[in-house]
């Protein structure tokens, strides 16, 4: 195999390649893109911005990767679950019906744990529908896709609840004295925990086995339904954590806007990371790089004057392109045309 092919065959090639292109475009457009400075004692710059803002997507992508691998379907409720978790936390911290507070009703830790717990609960519900009742993952998660956001609104009494309590802002902004955005640490922690879980237990092997061939996995003694359920719970927990970060950034729970369109970003991150949306083998690192690539694209689009509402057009096109290229039928078609071309060339050669 020639070296170029060997590089392109690498699983991490696609996400890194895309990231590189996006960064390159930015560099050409604005040479100051890579500048990193320090303002008001914290790091400042486009790259830092991408790393910071990409945190939620990266956290969601971690959970989404597992779900895709085990069930060959995606969890489209993650964005709404983020919003629900944020609302749950703010409701706990502020007390029901309060729309702005400087005093916490319960310790912050309890509030945050409650939010993450809500995420896990949503994941458990999705998991039960998919693993036990064998409902298509996307239909099952569609329920919470609509309902979670609405429940969040209920928890917050249909208003935006502000938590004007300094430490609550730390998670999404900066801890005083530390120049690096806290969200980056949270992301690293989530990735580390899940990686350790995958490395130190047999979960990774189980997920892949159940995702590739659940019948064979069952014969080999793996409880495929249980593994599927666990993956959805992890995905829900990740959505909960992402919701915390998003809520902390704006120190409030804005049910209508937190996590909006994030499901698309998360799924796109998984696909860009070289993971097949058909399930099976997965690569967590790829999904994470994919997540930052998405964020880089979003940031670039924003810098070019494309609004947040408009950005999904381009992302939707990217998704379509990726799934079309991944589709077996398409691959077959390409292989066939290539074979025909070669056959024609050979024939032509013989005649000549």
């Amino acid at each position: 195999m020639d070296p170029i092919k060997r590089i392109t065959k690498q699983q991490l090639f696609l996400p890194f390649f895309c990231l590189l292109i996006v960064l390159l475009i930015n560099l050409i457009k604005s040479p100051t893109f890579f500048n990193i400075g320090i303002q008001h004692g914290v790091l400042y710059g486009r790259l830092i911005d991408i790393l910071n803002r990409g945190s939620e997507i990266a956290i969601l992508a971690v959970g989404q990767t597992l779900v895709v691998a085990v069930s060959a379907g995606t969890d489209i409720s993650v964005g709404s679950v983020m919003s629900l978790s944020a609302c749950g936390t703010c409701m706990m911290l502020a007390g029901y019906g309060v729309n702005s507070t400087t005093q916490l009703a319960v310790p912050m830790g309890i509030g945050i744990l409650f939010g993450i717990f809500l995420g896990g609960l949503c994941g458990a519900m999705n998991g039960a529908l998919v693993a036990k009742l064998k409902i298509q993952p996307m239909v099952a998660t569609l329920i919470l896709f609509t309902a979670a956001r609405a429940i969040g609104l209920l928890l917050c009494n249909n208003q935006i609840t502000y938590i004007r309590y300094e430490p609550y802002k730390y998670l999404g902004n900066f801890i005083p004295g530390c120049p690096i955005p806290t969200a980056i640490f949270v992301t690293i922690a989530v990735i580390a925990i899940v990686s350790i879980l995958l490395r130190k237990t047999a979960l990774g092997l189980y997920i892949q086995s159940a995702g590739i061939n659940s019948r064979a996995a069952r014969i080999s003694g793996i409880n495929s339904a249980m593994i599927c359920f666990v993956c959805y719970v992890i995905c829900g927990l990740c959505a909960g954590i992402a919701g915390m970060v998003a809520s902390s950034r704006i120190y409030s729970a804005d049910s209508n806007n937190i996590g909006l369109n994030y499901e698309l970003d998360a799924i796109l991150a998984v696909a860009l990371g070289g993971n097949s949306l058909g399930g099976g083998k997965f690569n967590l690192a790829g999904a994470v790089v994919g997540a930052y690539t998405i964020q880089a694209i979003t940031t670039t689009l924003l810098a070019m004057g494309v609004s947040t509402d408009q950005a999904p057009v381009i992302k939707a096109i990217i998704v379509i392109i990726i799934v079309v290229v991944q589709a077996p039928t398409f691959k077959e078609w390409i292989a066939n045309t290539e074979a025909k071309r070669k056959a024609l060339a050979a024939e032509g050669g013989q005649k000549a």
């Binding site: 379907g73 995606t74 489209i76 529908l129 009742l133 064998k134 409902i135 298509q136 996307m138 239909v139 099952a140 569609l142 329920i143 919470l144 896709f145 609509t146 309902a147 956001r149 609405a150 429940i151 609104l153 209920l154 009494n157 249909n158 369109n261 698309l264 799924i267 949306l277 609004s307 509402d309 408009q310 950005a311 999904p312 057009v313 381009i314 992302k315 939707a316 096109i317 998704v319 379509i320 799934v323 079309v324 589709a327 077996p328 039928t329 398409f330």
Partner: protein, 343 residues
Amino acid sequence: MKKLNKFSGNTVLLLITIVLFIGMYAAGCVIYSAKGFTHVQTFLNLLITNAGLICVACGMTCVMLTGGIDISVGSLIAMDCMILAYGMGVKGWPCIPLIILILVIGLIFGAVQGYLIGYLKIQPFIITMAGMFFARGMTAVICTDQISITQDMNPMFYKWANAKINLPGFLGYVNKKGKTVVPFIRPTVVIALLVVAIIFFVLKYTKFGRNLYAVGGNQQSATMMGLNVKATKMKAYILSSFLCSIGGICYCLNTMSGSVQQALGFEMNAIASSVIGGTLLTGGVGNVIGSLFGVLINGTISTLVTTNGKLLSSWSNIMTAALLCFFIILQSLFAYFKNRNNR
């Protein structure tokens, strides 16, 4: 041979739906009779506000019969409304070409989705999800503001939107001033009911309609029996997007505005209507009459929530989702018992 049970699980599902609708409506009549819930007009309003949803649910039912799903409908409606509002409100274009444009866009949109799903065999959910974000994004690309269509902008469209078709007077009631209020419907209701009738006919009496059922029943068998599965699927998605465009026009006639946030979560209502109306998620079973009742149940929920006045509007979303969840679980229970009996 034992007597066959014609009263199969699917009929039971449809019956539950109808009983549920009557029950809910009756409960509404009892609780909110003071607020005019018992008037015929309240029921007609149900049809008027949900005319768009009825069209979309019919298309959704066709897609779901093949075992697929189309979640792009809500965004497509937002895009349709925006095109109408932007075209009439900002550009001042006449409405008939715009409506034709919208219908053509519906056809093209459906054809692309259908091709990718039918011929390239990509999961319908992924494709229509991309379609959902694409259409929503395009809405924002056209215009990010909310545009209202007023009488000055397009008198014709305004006239259509406000046209009343009066029903026979005996259905009306006498108000406090002693004047008889005659119940009325709007043209959109006629369109919606016409769509229901046509799709009902197509599903029952045309080859295409029966092929939808066959594909959903067992795709492999359908292929073996010599049906063109790929084309059937593609046509189903074209039909869905086309009906969605018609629904978009009805929706716009109702709201007379276009904005990016419009019809959020509409796909959920359409899917819920179909499922509540007895369409199986696995495909092959369902009909539009059931879906019509599904829409009515959906509408009743939101009417109840608004009539109450104290409840938050998000309750109707939650109720719909809960109902969808309930029916999905019911469906899998039915399937489970059927399997057990067969073995």
